[in-house]
Symmetry: C2
Protein backbone atom coordinates (compact mmCIF):
# COMPACT_ATOMS: atom_id res chain seq x y z
CA UNK A 1 0.00 0.00 0.00
CA UNK A 2 1.43 3.39 -0.95
CA UNK A 3 1.38 6.05 1.77
CA UNK A 4 -1.82 8.08 1.55
CA UNK A 5 -3.05 11.20 3.35
CA UNK A 6 -6.45 12.85 2.99
CA UNK A 7 -7.15 16.57 3.39
CA UNK A 8 -10.76 17.36 4.26
CA UNK A 9 -12.11 20.90 4.45
CA UNK A 10 -14.42 21.65 7.38
CA UNK A 11 -17.49 23.33 6.01
CA UNK A 12 -20.52 24.70 7.79
CA UNK A 13 -18.80 26.46 10.67
CA UNK A 14 -20.97 29.47 11.58
CA UNK A 15 -19.55 33.02 11.55
CA UNK A 16 -17.39 33.13 14.70
CA UNK A 17 -17.68 35.90 17.28
CA UNK A 18 -16.02 36.64 20.61
CA UNK A 19 -16.54 33.97 23.24
CA UNK A 20 -17.68 31.24 20.87
CA UNK A 21 -16.73 27.70 21.87
CA UNK A 22 -14.64 27.08 18.77
CA UNK A 23 -13.64 23.54 19.77
CA UNK A 24 -17.26 22.52 20.15
CA UNK A 25 -18.30 24.20 16.89
CA UNK A 26 -15.54 22.38 15.01
CA UNK A 27 -16.40 18.99 16.52
CA UNK A 28 -20.01 19.57 15.50
CA UNK A 29 -19.16 20.76 11.96
CA UNK A 30 -16.91 17.74 11.35
CA UNK A 31 -19.60 15.32 12.53
CA UNK A 32 -22.34 17.07 10.56
CA UNK A 33 -20.50 16.79 7.26
CA UNK A 34 -19.93 13.06 7.76
CA UNK A 35 -16.24 13.25 8.73
CA UNK A 36 -16.23 13.12 12.54
CA UNK A 37 -12.83 13.69 14.15
CA UNK A 38 -10.95 10.47 14.92
CA UNK A 39 -7.78 9.41 16.74
CA UNK A 40 -4.65 10.43 14.86
CA UNK A 41 -6.24 13.27 12.91
CA UNK A 42 -4.55 16.64 12.69
CA UNK A 43 -7.10 19.45 12.87
CA UNK A 44 -5.79 22.64 11.28
CA UNK A 45 -7.67 25.80 12.25
CA UNK A 46 -7.04 29.07 10.43
CA UNK A 47 -5.93 31.96 12.60
CA UNK A 48 -8.78 34.32 11.88
CA UNK A 49 -11.53 32.23 13.49
CA UNK A 50 -9.26 31.56 16.49
CA UNK A 51 -8.56 35.27 16.94
CA UNK A 52 -12.22 36.17 16.54
CA UNK A 53 -13.33 33.60 19.13
CA UNK A 54 -10.68 35.09 21.46
CA UNK A 55 -11.85 38.65 20.78
CA UNK A 56 -8.54 39.69 19.25
CA UNK A 57 -10.38 42.23 17.10
CA UNK A 58 -9.53 45.94 17.26
CA UNK A 59 -11.90 48.80 16.48
CA UNK A 60 -9.66 51.24 14.61
CA UNK A 61 -11.77 54.17 15.84
CA UNK A 62 -10.20 53.64 19.29
CA UNK A 63 -6.63 53.98 17.97
CA UNK A 64 -4.57 57.19 18.04
CA UNK A 65 -1.75 56.87 15.52
CA UNK A 66 1.78 57.96 16.40
CA UNK A 67 3.82 60.37 14.26
CA UNK A 68 5.70 57.40 12.78
CA UNK A 69 2.45 55.70 11.80
CA UNK A 70 1.01 58.90 10.32
CA UNK A 71 4.13 59.54 8.25
CA UNK A 72 4.43 55.97 6.91
CA UNK A 73 0.69 55.82 6.14
CA UNK A 74 0.77 59.14 4.29
CA UNK A 75 3.74 58.08 2.18
CA UNK A 76 2.23 54.75 1.16
CA UNK A 77 -1.53 55.49 1.16
CA UNK A 78 -2.33 53.36 4.16
CA UNK A 79 -4.67 53.73 7.15
CA UNK A 80 -2.52 55.34 9.88
CA UNK A 81 -4.59 53.65 12.59
CA UNK A 82 -3.90 50.22 11.10
CA UNK A 83 -0.18 51.06 10.81
CA UNK A 84 -0.25 52.05 14.48
CA UNK A 85 -1.74 48.68 15.45
CA UNK A 86 1.01 46.90 13.47
CA UNK A 87 3.66 48.90 15.36
CA UNK A 88 2.04 48.14 18.71
CA UNK A 89 1.97 44.41 17.94
CA UNK A 90 5.68 44.35 17.00
CA UNK A 91 8.64 43.81 19.30
CA UNK A 92 11.02 44.71 16.47
CA UNK A 93 10.87 46.22 12.98
CA UNK A 94 12.84 44.03 10.56
CA UNK A 95 12.11 46.13 7.44
CA UNK A 96 9.93 49.19 6.92
CA UNK A 97 10.32 50.38 3.35
CA UNK A 98 8.55 50.36 -0.05
CA UNK A 99 5.25 50.43 1.83
CA UNK A 100 6.05 47.06 3.39
CA UNK A 101 6.34 46.42 7.13
CA UNK A 102 8.14 43.21 8.10
CA UNK A 103 8.09 42.89 11.86
CA UNK A 104 8.87 40.44 14.61
CA UNK A 105 5.92 39.63 16.86
CA UNK A 106 6.11 38.81 20.54
CA UNK A 107 5.68 35.12 19.58
CA UNK A 108 8.92 35.39 17.57
CA UNK A 109 7.28 35.27 14.13
CA UNK A 110 8.82 37.43 11.42
CA UNK A 111 5.98 38.36 9.08
CA UNK A 112 4.26 41.21 7.28
CA UNK A 113 2.27 43.67 9.43
CA UNK A 114 2.78 41.77 12.71
CA UNK A 115 0.17 39.32 11.42
CA UNK A 116 -2.51 42.02 11.70
CA UNK A 117 -5.17 41.35 9.12
CA UNK A 118 -7.86 43.54 7.60
CA UNK A 119 -9.75 41.09 5.37
CA UNK A 120 -12.77 38.99 6.33
CA UNK A 121 -13.07 40.46 9.80
CA UNK A 122 -16.71 39.50 9.72
CA UNK A 123 -18.03 42.67 11.29
CA UNK A 124 -19.36 44.01 7.99
CA UNK A 125 -17.23 47.09 8.54
CA UNK A 126 -13.83 48.25 7.34
CA UNK A 127 -13.03 49.84 10.73
CA UNK A 128 -11.82 46.59 12.31
CA UNK A 129 -8.63 44.56 12.13
CA UNK A 130 -7.77 41.15 13.59
CA UNK A 131 -4.65 40.48 15.67
CA UNK A 132 -2.85 37.17 16.10
CA UNK A 133 -3.91 35.11 19.13
CA UNK A 134 -2.03 36.26 22.26
CA UNK A 135 -0.65 32.75 22.89
CA UNK A 136 -1.24 30.62 19.82
CA UNK A 137 0.01 27.38 21.38
CA UNK A 138 -2.50 27.87 24.19
CA UNK A 139 -5.20 28.44 21.56
CA UNK A 140 -4.29 25.13 19.92
CA UNK A 141 -4.26 23.33 23.28
CA UNK A 142 -7.68 24.68 24.21
CA UNK A 143 -9.19 23.34 20.97
CA UNK A 144 -7.38 20.01 21.40
CA UNK A 145 -8.63 19.66 24.98
CA UNK A 146 -12.19 20.47 23.96
CA UNK A 147 -12.07 17.87 21.15
CA UNK A 148 -10.73 15.30 23.60
CA UNK A 149 -13.62 16.07 25.91
CA UNK A 150 -16.43 16.18 23.37
CA UNK A 151 -15.35 13.72 20.68
CA UNK A 152 -13.37 11.41 22.95
CA UNK A 153 -10.42 11.19 20.61
CA UNK A 154 -6.74 12.10 20.64
CA UNK A 155 -5.81 14.48 17.85
CA UNK A 156 -3.22 17.15 17.13
CA UNK A 157 -4.24 20.76 16.53
CA UNK A 158 -2.39 23.33 14.43
CA UNK A 159 -3.39 26.98 14.26
CA UNK A 160 -2.35 28.25 10.80
CA UNK A 161 -1.83 31.65 9.25
CA UNK A 162 -0.87 32.90 5.80
CA UNK A 163 2.63 34.43 5.72
CA UNK A 164 4.76 35.79 2.91
CA UNK A 165 8.37 34.73 2.51
CA UNK A 166 11.72 36.19 1.55
CA UNK A 167 12.85 35.69 -2.07
CA UNK A 168 9.69 34.03 -3.41
CA UNK A 169 6.42 35.60 -4.49
CA UNK A 170 3.15 34.40 -3.05
CA UNK A 171 2.16 33.65 0.50
CA UNK A 172 1.58 30.26 2.06
CA UNK A 173 0.06 28.84 5.21
CA UNK A 174 2.37 28.11 8.13
CA UNK A 175 1.83 26.85 11.67
CA UNK A 176 1.60 29.50 14.37
CA UNK A 177 0.31 27.34 17.23
CA UNK A 178 0.59 23.63 18.04
CA UNK A 179 -0.85 21.06 20.40
CA UNK A 180 -0.14 17.34 20.44
CA UNK A 181 2.40 17.35 17.58
CA UNK A 182 6.13 17.91 17.26
CA UNK A 183 6.98 21.02 15.25
CA UNK A 184 9.95 19.50 13.41
CA UNK A 185 10.94 16.09 12.08
CA UNK A 186 14.64 15.63 12.58
CA UNK A 187 16.38 13.23 10.21
CA UNK A 188 19.87 14.17 11.36
CA UNK A 189 21.96 11.13 12.21
CA UNK A 190 19.81 8.82 10.10
CA UNK A 191 21.64 6.94 7.35
CA UNK A 192 20.68 7.38 3.70
CA UNK A 193 20.70 4.72 0.96
CA UNK A 194 24.41 5.32 0.28
CA UNK A 195 25.41 4.85 3.91
CA UNK A 196 25.91 8.58 4.30
CA UNK A 197 24.69 10.22 7.50
CA UNK A 198 22.16 12.99 6.88
CA UNK A 199 23.63 16.14 8.40
CA UNK A 200 21.17 18.90 7.86
CA UNK A 201 17.70 17.61 7.12
CA UNK A 202 15.22 18.90 9.65
CA UNK A 203 11.76 19.12 8.13
CA UNK A 204 9.20 21.70 9.24
CA UNK A 205 6.34 19.21 9.26
CA UNK A 206 3.89 21.46 11.09
CA UNK A 207 4.36 24.12 8.41
CA UNK A 208 3.97 21.54 5.65
CA UNK A 209 0.73 20.30 7.19
CA UNK A 210 -0.54 23.88 7.41
CA UNK A 211 0.44 24.52 3.78
CA UNK A 212 -1.28 21.32 2.67
CA UNK A 213 -4.60 22.34 4.19
CA UNK A 214 -4.65 25.61 2.26
CA UNK A 215 -5.59 23.37 -0.69
CA UNK A 216 -9.00 22.76 0.92
CA UNK A 217 -9.55 25.98 2.85
CA UNK A 218 -9.31 29.29 1.02
CA UNK A 219 -9.63 33.04 1.31
CA UNK A 220 -13.16 33.51 -0.02
CA UNK A 221 -15.25 30.50 0.90
CA UNK A 222 -16.09 29.81 4.49
CA UNK A 223 -13.87 26.78 5.15
CA UNK A 224 -11.92 27.89 8.23
CA UNK A 225 -10.48 24.50 9.18
CA UNK A 226 -9.35 21.19 7.72
CA UNK A 227 -8.70 17.64 8.84
CA UNK A 228 -5.44 15.90 7.83
CA UNK A 229 -6.13 12.18 8.01
CA UNK A 230 -3.63 9.36 7.67
CA UNK A 231 -0.41 11.23 8.42
CA UNK A 232 1.72 9.46 11.05
CA UNK A 233 2.85 12.61 12.86
CA UNK A 234 5.15 12.60 15.87
CA UNK A 235 3.03 13.28 18.95
CA UNK A 236 4.55 15.80 21.33
CA UNK A 237 4.08 19.09 23.11
CA UNK A 238 6.89 21.20 21.71
CA UNK A 239 4.63 24.05 20.70
CA UNK A 240 5.99 26.39 18.06
CA UNK A 241 9.22 27.29 19.91
CA UNK A 242 11.48 24.90 17.91
CA UNK A 243 10.34 26.57 14.65
CA UNK A 244 11.50 30.03 15.66
CA UNK A 245 15.09 30.57 14.54
CA UNK A 246 17.16 32.21 17.27
CA UNK A 247 18.02 35.79 16.47
CA UNK A 248 21.76 35.12 16.81
CA UNK A 249 21.59 32.31 14.24
CA UNK A 250 19.38 34.22 11.80
CA UNK A 251 21.22 35.72 8.83
CA UNK A 252 18.19 37.75 7.70
CA UNK A 253 16.96 39.53 10.79
CA UNK B 1 -19.74 17.69 0.20
CA UNK B 2 -16.72 19.24 1.89
CA UNK B 3 -13.67 19.89 -0.31
CA UNK B 4 -11.33 16.90 -0.23
CA UNK B 5 -7.86 16.29 -1.64
CA UNK B 6 -5.90 13.04 -1.52
CA UNK B 7 -2.11 12.76 -1.40
CA UNK B 8 -0.77 9.44 -2.66
CA UNK B 9 2.90 8.48 -2.47
CA UNK B 10 4.33 6.76 -5.53
CA UNK B 11 6.15 3.67 -4.39
CA UNK B 12 8.13 1.12 -6.34
CA UNK B 13 10.09 3.46 -8.59
CA UNK B 14 13.43 1.76 -9.30
CA UNK B 15 16.74 3.49 -8.48
CA UNK B 16 17.07 6.14 -11.18
CA UNK B 17 20.22 6.55 -13.29
CA UNK B 18 21.25 8.81 -16.15
CA UNK B 19 19.10 8.48 -19.24
CA UNK B 20 16.18 6.71 -17.55
CA UNK B 21 12.75 7.47 -18.99
CA UNK B 22 11.42 8.97 -15.75
CA UNK B 23 7.98 9.78 -17.15
CA UNK B 24 7.46 6.19 -18.25
CA UNK B 25 8.74 4.79 -14.95
CA UNK B 26 6.34 7.02 -13.01
CA UNK B 27 3.35 6.10 -15.18
CA UNK B 28 4.19 2.44 -14.63
CA UNK B 29 4.73 2.80 -10.87
CA UNK B 30 1.40 4.63 -10.43
CA UNK B 31 -0.47 1.96 -12.39
CA UNK B 32 1.27 -0.90 -10.59
CA UNK B 33 0.28 0.34 -7.15
CA UNK B 34 -3.37 0.63 -8.19
CA UNK B 35 -3.48 4.42 -8.53
CA UNK B 36 -3.04 5.06 -12.28
CA UNK B 37 -2.65 8.73 -13.22
CA UNK B 38 -5.89 10.40 -14.23
CA UNK B 39 -7.05 13.71 -15.70
CA UNK B 40 -6.69 16.57 -13.24
CA UNK B 41 -4.00 14.95 -11.09
CA UNK B 42 -0.93 16.89 -10.06
CA UNK B 43 2.15 14.66 -10.15
CA UNK B 44 4.90 15.99 -7.88
CA UNK B 45 8.35 14.59 -8.57
CA UNK B 46 11.22 15.21 -6.15
CA UNK B 47 14.25 16.93 -7.61
CA UNK B 48 16.79 14.23 -6.95
CA UNK B 49 15.30 11.62 -9.29
CA UNK B 50 14.82 14.28 -11.97
CA UNK B 51 18.45 15.39 -11.68
CA UNK B 52 19.72 11.81 -11.71
CA UNK B 53 17.72 10.93 -14.83
CA UNK B 54 19.20 14.05 -16.44
CA UNK B 55 22.75 13.11 -15.36
CA UNK B 56 23.13 16.21 -13.18
CA UNK B 57 25.54 14.27 -10.95
CA UNK B 58 29.10 15.48 -10.35
CA UNK B 59 32.07 13.28 -9.48
CA UNK B 60 33.92 15.38 -6.90
CA UNK B 61 37.22 13.79 -7.92
CA UNK B 62 37.03 15.86 -11.12
CA UNK B 63 36.75 19.18 -9.24
CA UNK B 64 39.68 21.50 -8.43
CA UNK B 65 38.64 23.82 -5.61
CA UNK B 66 39.43 27.53 -5.76
CA UNK B 67 41.23 29.38 -2.96
CA UNK B 68 37.87 30.72 -1.75
CA UNK B 69 36.43 27.20 -1.57
CA UNK B 70 39.52 25.84 0.20
CA UNK B 71 39.46 28.63 2.78
CA UNK B 72 35.72 28.36 3.53
CA UNK B 73 35.89 24.55 3.68
CA UNK B 74 38.86 24.62 6.08
CA UNK B 75 37.17 27.08 8.40
CA UNK B 76 33.91 25.12 8.59
CA UNK B 77 35.07 21.51 8.15
CA UNK B 78 33.53 21.03 4.73
CA UNK B 79 34.64 19.25 1.56
CA UNK B 80 36.38 21.97 -0.50
CA UNK B 81 35.36 20.23 -3.74
CA UNK B 82 31.68 20.37 -2.78
CA UNK B 83 32.04 24.04 -1.79
CA UNK B 84 33.57 24.69 -5.21
CA UNK B 85 30.59 23.06 -6.94
CA UNK B 86 28.22 25.27 -4.90
CA UNK B 87 30.14 28.38 -6.00
CA UNK B 88 30.11 27.28 -9.64
CA UNK B 89 26.34 26.74 -9.52
CA UNK B 90 25.70 30.22 -8.06
CA UNK B 91 25.15 33.46 -9.95
CA UNK B 92 25.33 35.40 -6.70
CA UNK B 93 26.31 34.81 -3.06
CA UNK B 94 23.56 36.13 -0.77
CA UNK B 95 25.24 35.09 2.51
CA UNK B 96 28.42 33.15 3.20
CA UNK B 97 29.00 33.06 6.94
CA UNK B 98 28.68 30.75 9.97
CA UNK B 99 29.43 27.82 7.67
CA UNK B 100 26.25 28.56 5.70
CA UNK B 101 26.15 29.40 1.99
CA UNK B 102 22.94 31.02 0.78
CA UNK B 103 23.19 31.59 -2.94
CA UNK B 104 21.12 32.58 -5.93
CA UNK B 105 21.02 29.98 -8.69
CA UNK B 106 20.75 30.72 -12.39
CA UNK B 107 17.03 29.79 -12.13
CA UNK B 108 16.60 32.66 -9.64
CA UNK B 109 16.15 30.46 -6.55
CA UNK B 110 17.68 31.73 -3.32
CA UNK B 111 18.58 28.64 -1.31
CA UNK B 112 21.32 26.90 0.65
CA UNK B 113 24.28 25.55 -1.31
CA UNK B 114 22.85 26.42 -4.75
CA UNK B 115 20.57 23.42 -4.31
CA UNK B 116 23.58 21.08 -4.53
CA UNK B 117 22.85 17.96 -2.54
CA UNK B 118 25.06 15.28 -1.11
CA UNK B 119 22.56 12.82 0.37
CA UNK B 120 21.01 9.82 -1.37
CA UNK B 121 23.02 10.23 -4.55
CA UNK B 122 22.49 6.56 -5.19
CA UNK B 123 26.00 5.81 -6.38
CA UNK B 124 26.96 4.07 -3.15
CA UNK B 125 29.83 6.55 -2.84
CA UNK B 126 30.38 9.81 -0.94
CA UNK B 127 32.35 11.31 -3.86
CA UNK B 128 29.26 12.46 -5.76
CA UNK B 129 26.85 15.37 -5.45
CA UNK B 130 23.62 16.14 -7.32
CA UNK B 131 22.91 19.50 -8.98
CA UNK B 132 19.51 21.03 -9.69
CA UNK B 133 18.08 20.30 -13.15
CA UNK B 134 19.46 22.76 -15.72
CA UNK B 135 15.94 23.91 -16.72
CA UNK B 136 13.47 22.62 -14.16
CA UNK B 137 10.36 23.80 -16.05
CA UNK B 138 11.57 21.85 -19.09
CA UNK B 139 12.05 18.82 -16.82
CA UNK B 140 8.44 19.12 -15.65
CA UNK B 141 7.19 19.55 -19.21
CA UNK B 142 9.06 16.47 -20.39
CA UNK B 143 7.44 14.34 -17.70
CA UNK B 144 4.01 15.86 -18.41
CA UNK B 145 4.36 15.19 -22.14
CA UNK B 146 5.43 11.61 -21.53
CA UNK B 147 2.44 11.03 -19.23
CA UNK B 148 0.11 12.50 -21.86
CA UNK B 149 1.58 10.11 -24.40
CA UNK B 150 1.63 6.94 -22.34
CA UNK B 151 -1.33 7.34 -19.96
CA UNK B 152 -3.48 9.45 -22.27
CA UNK B 153 -4.41 11.94 -19.57
CA UNK B 154 -3.95 15.62 -18.90
CA UNK B 155 -2.13 16.31 -15.64
CA UNK B 156 0.08 18.98 -14.10
CA UNK B 157 3.64 18.21 -13.07
CA UNK B 158 5.64 19.90 -10.31
CA UNK B 159 9.31 19.23 -9.68
CA UNK B 160 9.90 19.80 -5.95
CA UNK B 161 12.95 20.36 -3.78
CA UNK B 162 13.55 20.85 -0.07
CA UNK B 163 14.62 24.41 0.79
CA UNK B 164 15.29 26.16 4.07
CA UNK B 165 13.76 29.56 4.83
CA UNK B 166 14.64 32.81 6.53
CA UNK B 167 13.46 33.26 10.14
CA UNK B 168 12.01 29.77 10.67
CA UNK B 169 13.78 26.53 11.51
CA UNK B 170 13.21 23.45 9.41
CA UNK B 171 13.12 23.01 5.66
CA UNK B 172 10.09 22.38 3.50
CA UNK B 173 9.36 21.29 -0.03
CA UNK B 174 8.80 23.97 -2.65
CA UNK B 175 8.16 23.92 -6.39
CA UNK B 176 11.21 24.38 -8.62
CA UNK B 177 9.67 23.41 -11.96
CA UNK B 178 6.12 23.47 -13.33
CA UNK B 179 4.13 22.21 -16.28
CA UNK B 180 0.39 22.57 -16.84
CA UNK B 181 -0.33 24.58 -13.67
CA UNK B 182 -0.28 28.25 -12.70
CA UNK B 183 2.37 29.04 -10.09
CA UNK B 184 0.26 31.50 -8.10
CA UNK B 185 -3.41 31.93 -7.24
CA UNK B 186 -4.23 35.62 -7.26
CA UNK B 187 -7.16 36.72 -5.08
CA UNK B 188 -6.46 40.43 -5.53
CA UNK B 189 -9.56 42.33 -6.56
CA UNK B 190 -11.89 39.65 -5.19
CA UNK B 191 -14.36 40.81 -2.56
CA UNK B 192 -14.35 39.31 0.93
CA UNK B 193 -17.37 38.62 3.17
CA UNK B 194 -17.31 42.21 4.48
CA UNK B 195 -17.36 43.76 1.03
CA UNK B 196 -13.71 44.67 1.34
CA UNK B 197 -11.49 44.15 -1.69
CA UNK B 198 -8.56 41.79 -1.02
CA UNK B 199 -5.42 43.77 -1.74
CA UNK B 200 -2.49 41.53 -1.12
CA UNK B 201 -3.47 37.90 -1.13
CA UNK B 202 -1.52 36.01 -3.75
CA UNK B 203 -1.13 32.37 -2.75
CA UNK B 204 1.88 30.29 -3.79
CA UNK B 205 -0.23 27.24 -4.65
CA UNK B 206 2.55 25.35 -6.43
CA UNK B 207 4.70 25.62 -3.30
CA UNK B 208 1.80 24.51 -1.09
CA UNK B 209 1.20 21.47 -3.30
CA UNK B 210 4.89 20.61 -3.11
CA UNK B 211 4.86 21.02 0.68
CA UNK B 212 1.75 18.85 0.97
CA UNK B 213 3.38 15.94 -0.83
CA UNK B 214 6.31 15.88 1.58
CA UNK B 215 3.78 14.25 3.95
CA UNK B 216 3.83 11.11 1.76
CA UNK B 217 7.34 11.18 0.32
CA UNK B 218 10.29 11.42 2.69
CA UNK B 219 14.04 11.50 2.99
CA UNK B 220 14.71 7.87 3.86
CA UNK B 221 12.16 5.69 2.14
CA UNK B 222 12.12 5.40 -1.62
CA UNK B 223 8.99 7.40 -2.42
CA UNK B 224 10.30 9.95 -4.93
CA UNK B 225 6.95 11.20 -6.22
CA UNK B 226 3.35 11.75 -5.18
CA UNK B 227 -0.04 12.26 -6.76
CA UNK B 228 -2.29 15.12 -5.60
CA UNK B 229 -5.83 14.13 -6.49
CA UNK B 230 -8.95 16.28 -6.25
CA UNK B 231 -7.38 19.74 -6.20
CA UNK B 232 -8.97 22.11 -8.74
CA UNK B 233 -5.74 23.80 -9.81
CA UNK B 234 -5.57 26.56 -12.38
CA UNK B 235 -4.19 25.06 -15.59
CA UNK B 236 -1.55 27.19 -17.27
CA UNK B 237 2.01 27.31 -18.50
CA UNK B 238 3.53 30.04 -16.36
CA UNK B 239 6.46 27.92 -15.25
CA UNK B 240 8.21 29.03 -12.08
CA UNK B 241 8.97 32.59 -13.24
CA UNK B 242 6.07 34.26 -11.35
CA UNK B 243 7.34 32.75 -8.08
CA UNK B 244 10.76 34.38 -8.30
CA UNK B 245 10.69 37.77 -6.59
CA UNK B 246 12.46 40.41 -8.65
CA UNK B 247 15.77 41.45 -7.14
CA UNK B 248 14.70 45.10 -7.02
CA UNK B 249 11.58 44.25 -5.01
CA UNK B 250 13.36 41.85 -2.66
CA UNK B 251 14.16 43.31 0.76
CA UNK B 252 16.32 40.33 1.76
CA UNK B 253 18.68 39.84 -1.15
Amino acid sequence: MPPQVTLIGVDGVPEITAGDDLGALLVEACAKQGTPLADGDVLVVTQKVVSKAEDQVIDLRTITPSALAIDFAARWEKDARAVEVVLQEAVRIVRMENGVMITETRHGFVCANSGVDASNVGTGSVDYVVLLPKDSDASARRIRDRVRELANCEIAVIVSDTFGRAWREGAGDVAIGLAGIEALWDYRGEIDNDGRELHSTVIAVADEIAAATELVTNKLTRVPAAIVRGYPYLAGETGIAPMIRERAKDLFR
